[in-house]
């Protein structure tokens, strides 16, 4: 899980253009300034590429925060 968190944090830092951004499990789109529907999809695409996984729309709809996403990544690895 440690490794997933670090990699995801780096993706967030790159996509949301903030080199000091830290992620928490409870974090949602409301907590990050540049997290809108467009950057959301870019972030998802990047996450898929980095981990070599694929999300389904159904799974995406159900994710309520960063914690849900981290769990889903771990499940798929």
């Amino acid at each position: 899980m440690e490794d997933i968190i670090i990699k995801t944090r780096d993706i967030f830092r790159e996509i949301f253009n903030d080199s000091s951004l830290e992620i928490t499990r409870e974090m949602t789109a409301n907590d990050v300034d540049k997290w809108d529907s467009l950057t959301h999809l870019t972030m998802i695409a990047k996450t898929e590429a980095v981990f070599g996984i694929k999300f389904k729309l159904k799974e995406l709809v159900k994710m309520k925060n960063v914690g849900d996403m981290l769990d889903k990544i771990q499940e798929k690895l």
């Binding site: 529907s37 467009l38 999809l41 998802i44 695409a45 729309l57 159904k58 995406l60 709809v61 159900k62």
Partner: protein, 498 residues
């Protein structure tokens, strides 16, 4: 005084295509009052309460659209079974197959009733230009665009497992599809929000009753004193025969058209949300001060909110998700297609398609210009920037609203030409002399739009404290006064036709 004629009375209870039941009519209020007495008596029994709601909703739809009530029931029934099927089947491909079947049935019916003639005309226009197109006599069931979207939320949400268990009761599902406060022109309530409310006991608090009555009164004012008044006394006259009017008339009528559209639809929605409150239900409202939007993306979060949410959740998101690797290009294509479909949904005509595309373009512009606009925002005083964005957005809406009022695309082009080439500002005082009241109504209505919510809350809080007899009296007086304005025939809500 004439004696009571049973036959005439009974006949008045059946469907009359020349005179469908209007929401803002006295007949409707009387029917609702009779229903409400029974509803209150049997409120504590869930089966009777729901049965009364269902009977009243279906009867209301019958009074609006006649035997099409069976189309409504048939389409609801098919999704009731398909939803069950999607839930029960274990294999993904069967789930997908059933979902496709539901979409085919719903969109197929919509296409048949709404778009057959449009497609025939377009086809003739392309293949045999100049030929008289074949026009079939197809009448569309009222509200079909709305109940199709409503029932589809159930199917999509079951497929996505957002709704975890399908509705067991067929009656409740049909009640969800036909629920009268949504049936005519939305709001498009989602199954996941509305269906559970038929299972738990609705709560009718004093607050909800006051809110309901207040919203119905507000809606009546918006519909009758603003929308219908400026339509019949100014806007419609000019759009019907622009050739008799000056460019200045046309220019002012385009403002009027946008104001009319908003107050018509917002008045209807206020009333429907109000009726739902009276019965103990909460349905989402469609508007949040749309003319305060600073750009078109924001406008669509404030205008026809339930439609926008639907399109966003079930159309834009799946497309944008599927094309996520194309980055911005994928998202832009999704935006564009969503607004093209939104335009077509609003009406089967080139005018609506162009209107949808212009809105899609405006949103694309919002995305591409966002960093540039941020730079402008930095050096421009905040207030000026805000006022300018609101003014520009409002004028985009006003100029594109011409497409929603004009009968054909070439009429819209002529109207625009007139608006922008024949303007003679010196005519203002003469114009003002003729249209003093409609103009003042337009200006006051707009100003009321811009006032803070706090003001409305304090008026409501004042109203809430009144004794019920006083509230009922206020309602009666309002109805009497408003109906004095109705010298002309009651006009249907504009959004019914979509």
């Amino acid at each position: 005084m004439g004696s009571f004629n049973l036959q005439v009375f009974l006949q008045s209870l059946t469907y009359n295509p020349a005179n469908p039941l209007m929401y803002q009519s006295v007949t409707f209020f009387l029917l609702f009052a009779v229903f409400y007495i029974f509803y209150s008596i049997f409120f504590n029994s869930r089966p009777i309460r729901n049965a009364l709601l269902l009977v009243f909703s279906l009867y209301f739809y019958y009074k609006l659209s006649g035997l099409f009530v069976f189309v409504l029931i048939a389409m609801g029934t098919s999704d009731y079974f398909i939803g069950m099927g999607i839930f029960k089947s274990r294999k993904a491909h069967i789930k997908n197959l059933l979902l496709t079947l539901s979409v085919l049935i719903n969109v197929g019916a919509l296409m048949y009733f709404k778009y057959t003639n449009f497609l025939l005309e377009s086809w003739t226009g392309i293949v045999h230009p100049g030929a008289e197109p074949l026009v079939l006599k197809i009448i569309q069931p009222i509200g079909i665009s709305y109940f199709v979207f409503k029932t589809l939320t159930y199917i999509f949400d079951i497929q996505r497992e957002v709704i975890e268990k399908p509705e067991k009761s067929w009656f409740r599902y049909i009640l969800y599809v036909s629920f009268f406060p949504n049936i005519l022109a939305g709001p498009i309530s989602k199954a996941r929000d509305l269906l559970p409310q038929f299972i738990t006991k609705p709560e009718i608090s004093k607050e909800a009753l006051s809110k309901g009555l207040f919203l119905i009164m507000l809606g009546l004012i918006k519909k009758i004193a603003v929308a219908d008044y400026i339509a019949s006394n100014f806007v419609d006259r000019i759009f019907e025969s622009p050739e008799f009017f000056t460019g200045f008339d046309a220019y002012m009528a385009s403002y009027g058209a946008m104001i009319q559209l908003f107050f018509d639809f917002a008045g209807y929605t206020d009333m429907m949300v109000g009726f739902a409150f009276l019965m103990g239900f909460t349905i989402e409202h469609n508007f949040n001060k749309p003319f305060l939007a600073g750009n078109i993306s924001e406008f669509w979060r404030r205008w026809h909110i339930t439609l926008y949410n639907w399109l966003n959740e079930y159309l834009y998101q799946p497309m944008a998700f599927a094309w996520r690797r194309w980055k911005l290009a994928g998202a832009m294509l999704a935006v564009f297609l969503t607004f093209l479909i939104s335009g077509l949904w609003h009406g089967a005509a080139i005018t609506f398609v162009v209107w949808g595309l212009l809105h899609g373009l405006a949103i694309a512009w919002d995305v591409f210009s966002s960093s540039g606009r941020k730079k402008v925002q930095k050096w421009m005083p905040k207030v000026i920037y805000k006022v300018l964005s609101i003014l520009i957005t409002f004028h985009f809406l006003v100029f594109t609203a011409v497409l929603l009022k004009a009968k054909t695309f070439s009429d819209a082009i002529d109207f625009w030409k007139k608006m922008f080439t024949e303007i003679d500002l010196s005519l203002f005082s003469k114009w003002f002399g003729i249209y003093t009241t409609p103009f003042l109504v337009m200006v006051i209505a707009l100003i009321l739009q811009f006032l803070p919510n706090k003001m409305y809350t304090s008026i409501f809080n004042f109203f809430k404290k009144w004794h019920w007899t006083l509230k009922a009296l206020a309602f009666a007086i309002l109805v009497i006064v408003l109906y004095q304005l109705y010298i002309l025939e009651a006009m249907p809500f504009i959004y019914i036709q979509f």
